[in-house]
Subunit: 200 residues, 2 copies
């Protein structure tokens, strides 16, 4: 199914993956509304019509960027959470991995595309839906991980720990944007992981 079919017209030359990465970087740095198509065109090196053909209008570009960011999180940070370790270290490692995404070696954090920029644009129904999905999936992920560590945990107690774990991550996205250092938040993540593990 690796299409070897020779297509009829002029072959495409644009690198959509690289372009998408540039979209993610711009959107998470400046949010949805503050970014213009000219900005995106400049960052990707693609003309506005090329962007439009590849990703649709600005809203669908942002939605696609949210998805790409989510995939990046799943591939990069989630394995740390699901590793065969005790809950406290796994959760702490996960937070640290997420912070590596939020800060990306930069002095000033580009931040989280989903938790930090989507809330302000949630009046767009499509954006709100993706934000809801992101939170939901994080809750589910935390639930499965905590349940693995404490299979017999009562549901109330489990809910509390799950929400704590997700809420900590969400808050980190805002704190990173507020100027907190990565070291600061990493320490906070270890503390939080310990507290959450202690809840069970």
């Amino acid at each position: 199914m690796t299409d070897v079919k020779p297509k009829r017209g002029r072959p495409a030359t644009i690198d959509t993956d690289a372009a998408m990465q540039a979209l993610v970087e711009l959107f998470r740095a400046k949010g949805y509304a503050a970014v213009s198509l000219d900005d995106l065109s400049g960052a990707t090196g693609l003309s506005r019509p090329s962007l439009y053909r590849a990703f649709g209008n600005k809203l669908s570009m942002y939605i696609a960027a949210m998805d790409a960011f989510g995939v990046q999180v799943i591939e990069t940070a989630v394995p740390a959470l699901l590793a065969e370790r005790d809950l406290e270290t796994a959760l702490g490692d996960f937070y640290e991995a997420m912070l590596s995404i939020y800060y990306r070696d930069a002095e000033v954090a580009p931040g989280c595309l989903i938790f930090a920029t989507a809330p302000s644009s949630a009046d767009e129904a499509a954006i709100q839906a993706r934000l809801q999905f992101g939170i939901e999936q994080t809750d589910l992920l935390m639930r499965s991980r905590i349940l693995k560590a404490a299979p017999a945990c009562a549901t109330t107690r489990l809910d509390a720990a799950v929400h704590m774990a997700t809420n900590t991550l969400i808050a980190f996205s805002a704190r990173a944007k507020s100027g907190a250092t990565k070291a600061e938040l990493t320490k906070m993540g270890r503390q939080s992981a310990r507290s959450i593990a202690a809840l069970l």
Copy 2:
């Protein structure tokens, strides 16, 4: 000092307080960048030049709205936290009061002006500074309240509880924007308050 001095020219007729309230409502519903001066003019009933004279440019309007929102929080919700009750109920009452601000009787939450909209506009230095201040003040508020409930608490434990309490509130602002119901978050707030109190 209640100025009875008759000023020289035409007296001002605009209600700056009402206008500011309208600014807060618009900004927290749609964020900073997505709001135009025409939107603000329409919502306040003031002409663009009047707005400009009263509050300066768009950025300073947003900054002033952040301050006004902060004052509203301090006047409305903080007393619940500082009330003479046990920590768990005080914290739970505080979260509930904050959710009343975030939802304002509306089906869809207008949300939190500071935690939900500022992070996406934090590339503006002035906005980032106010966001940082807001988080800092919340941490300080939580610290003083928790310290009152547990004066002999070890600093590590105290830090953990403080950050948990603030992070929960920050996360609520994102969850509210994602479409969660007020009842849902109120329940989560009570659970979180219990968990945080149990950390001491």
